[in-house]
């Protein structure tokens, strides 16, 4: 028998009593009687696994049971058991950079004047920015504004990861690269622009594709990772690497007119897998190259990421942790979704099953290179299609792209039936005819071929590489997009 004192906030669950006498010869038994009598108290005191919650301290008289025999601590009549929550906390500088450099030079003071006169940044904040090391994955749509503004803001060291080359289709949004840079390595072009904006920034160039083999090694030297990638395997890779390294992942993604941003993998906060445990089936979510993107969109989203990065370093404001910002450019609206860490998450949960980096191509269901090189059954080369046209062979060429793409360029002999319309327009085709389908690069027309085969068409083939390959191999006057 022991007396249990009920803490104020819990009395409402115990018939408003401030103490109760309960049977039991150990602390565990008495607490069991307590939660048996007042079942609502159970979830306050115990977690789902039946363990005392981390904020619950139990005292027998004046002794904390952690220093006695824990829940097996014996009780004698007349003992008093107290439930006392543990209370602690603290501001905990985020990604606290090591001792900041002592001073800024006279030129730097002039350069950062508009930061220095704001008390929220000031000399102290500017020195934090200078001491910070940020890894930027990708120097494309999101990476462009990120690289430029993070450099301008005076981040001391920025690590760029990219292995791509600037091409003309990049220039509509990747403002860190210019027309003169087409053909140049994106790393060099980006670094050149950033150093022009701010020569005081140190830039590390990692000219590699981020992989499971190199990610931890590259990212371990930085305080914060900013994800500017555009594909699922790299997104999961960056996420998992950040969780394992305990580094915040400032995330952004864009598609057509919509964008998202949040901070993942902040210790205690959710990660990308808490939001999306599984990748979508390959091909379901089109990339920007397939679906297009408003050129300005990555500017808006990339700058949300840049803002959050700078806030994390300075320790000011409310960080975008556990909140997903959704931006709709057409409606010009921002919305916010709450995100929570999933205790069952395979990588950041309470019992993680993923404790090292995995094969992300395989995880995302993307066939490996050797598969792709194997000629697909039913593929036909654009040159062969051209020869058939020239010979006057009887066949039907269908273009399964969208009408607005058809307006950009087309093959005059082709009949336009957008992939989405194919099921209802399939009666326009004759299964006795030989049919060849094409699209922009061969992905959608492969789906069209599958669909037609299932609908009973026998003689259907896919023009390999789409109209882009047609432009390369048959008619260079056809513009590429």
């Amino acid at each position: 028998m022991a007396k249990i004192l009920i803490p104020t906030p819990l009395r409402q669950f115990a018939d408003k009593k401030d103490s109760v006498q309960l049977p039991g010869s150990t602390v565990g038994e008495v607490l069991k009687s307590l939660t048996g009598q007042y079942s609502e108290l159970r979830r306050h005191l115990y977690n789902d696994e039946g363990k005392l919650r981390s904020f619950v301290n139990v005292y027998v008289n004046d002794e904390d049971i952690r220093y006695l025999n824990k829940e097996a601590t014996p009780l004698t009549d007349g003992d008093t058991v107290s439930i006392v929550p543990s209370i602690a906390g603290g501001s905990a500088g985020v990604a606290a950079p090591p001792a900041p450099p002592a001073t800024l030079s006279k030129d730097e003071i002039l350069r950062y004047s508009r930061h220095l006169i704001m008390p929220e940044v000031g000399m102290e904040g500017q020195l934090k920015l200078k001491a910070a090391k940020v890894a930027l994955i990708g120097t494309g749509g999101l990476g462009a504004p990120l690289g430029m503004y993070l450099a301008a803001a005076g981040i001391g060291r920025i690590g760029l990861v990219d292995f791509d080359v600037v091409d003309f289709t990049n220039l509509q949004r990747q403002v860190i690269h210019g027309t003169k840079d087409v053909g140049k390595k994106k790393l060099d072009s980006a670094a050149e622009t950033m150093l022009d904006i701010n020569p005081y920034v140190e830039i590390d160039r990692h000219e590699v594709a981020l992989t499971s083999e190199n990610a931890l090694d590259i990212l371990k030297d930085y305080d914060i990772v900013v994800d500017g990638t555009d594909n699922f395997p790299t997104r999961y890779l960056v996420n998992d690497a950040c969780v394992l390294l305990k580094k915040p992942n400032v995330y952004g993604s864009i598609f057509r007119f919509e964008g998202q941003a949040t901070i993942f993998a902040y210790p205690g906060g959710p990660c990308y897998r808490c939001l999306y445990p599984e990748p979508p089936p390959p091909g379901l979510v089109p990339s920007c190259a397939e679906g297009g993107v408003l050129g300005i969109l990555p500017g808006t989203v990339g700058l949300i990421q840049a803002t959050e990065t700078v806030k994390l370093i300075l320790g000011i404001g409310e960080p975008l942790i556990g909140r997903l910002v959704l931006y709709d450019a057409l409606a010009m609206r921002f919305r916010e979704l709450k995100l929570r860490r999933n205790p069952e998450c395979p990588v950041c949960g309470d019992h993680p099953t993923i404790t090292k980096l995995i094969d992300y191509q395989e995880f995302c269901g993307i066939p490996t290179q050797t598969h792709e090189e194997k000629p697909m059954d039913g593929d036909i080369e654009p040159t062969e299609v051209k020869a058939k046209i020239d010979r006057g062979d009887r066949f039907v060429l269908i273009d399964v792209r969208e009408p607005h793409e058809y307006q950009i360029c087309n093959i005059p002999q082709a009949k336009l039936i957008p992939l989405g319309d194919l099921p209802k327009r399939v009666n326009e085709l004759n299964s006795a005819d030989e049919i060849i389908a094409h699209c922009k690069s061969g992905m959608r027309s492969a789906k069209a071929v599958d669909f037609l085969k299932q609908a009973g068409f026998k003689k259907v083939r896919n023009m390999k590489g789409g109209i882009l390959a047609w432009s390369d191999k048959v008619d260079p006057s056809v513009p590429k997009y």
Partner: protein
């Protein structure tokens, strides 16, 4: 919602301005969501107190007992963030308890700047802001 009466609020602010640049802490007691009295307590953390605080459970136990005798309840905890905004930090969340309101006071360069109040959840994953009225 939590409402803090003027004298209690002034005691809280003056306590955490006094502990600056270290974190200061204490308990708030009262009834029906109105804080009538602030009880400043020593920061019991044995490491660097610039960004961490601990309330000695014995202090909490004692204040809880004393306030019960006077018909009052412990409604919440207050602590300061020196030279840092009044958000609910990762460390706050990791050490939080859902039974109380957590008032965080931002103290910049030794002076009170702003404050927020939070109600953490059971799993220490989230702490929604609640309305805070003081003065």
């Amino acid at each position: 919602m939590i409402k803090i009466q003027k004298t209690a609020w002034e005691k809280m602010v003056s306590h955490v301005e006094g502990t600056f640049p270290k974190e200061g802490c204490g308990l708030m007691i009262g009834s029906d969501g109105v804080v009538a009295e602030a009880v400043p307590l020593p920061n019991a953390y044995t490491g660097p107190q610039e960004d961490f605080f601990v309330i000695d459970p014995k202090d909490l136990h004692r204040v809880d007992q004393e306030s019960r005798q006077r018909g009052l309840d412990v409604l919440g905890v207050f602590h300061s963030h020196p030279d840092c905004d009044a958000y609910f930090s990762k460390r706050d969340l990791e050490h939080s308890c859902p039974w109380f309101s957590y008032v965080v006071l931002s103290i910049k360069k030794g002076r009170f700047d702003h404050a927020n109040s939070y109600r953490p959840d059971f799993d220490q994953t989230e702490a929604p802001k609640e309305e805070l009225i003081y003065g």
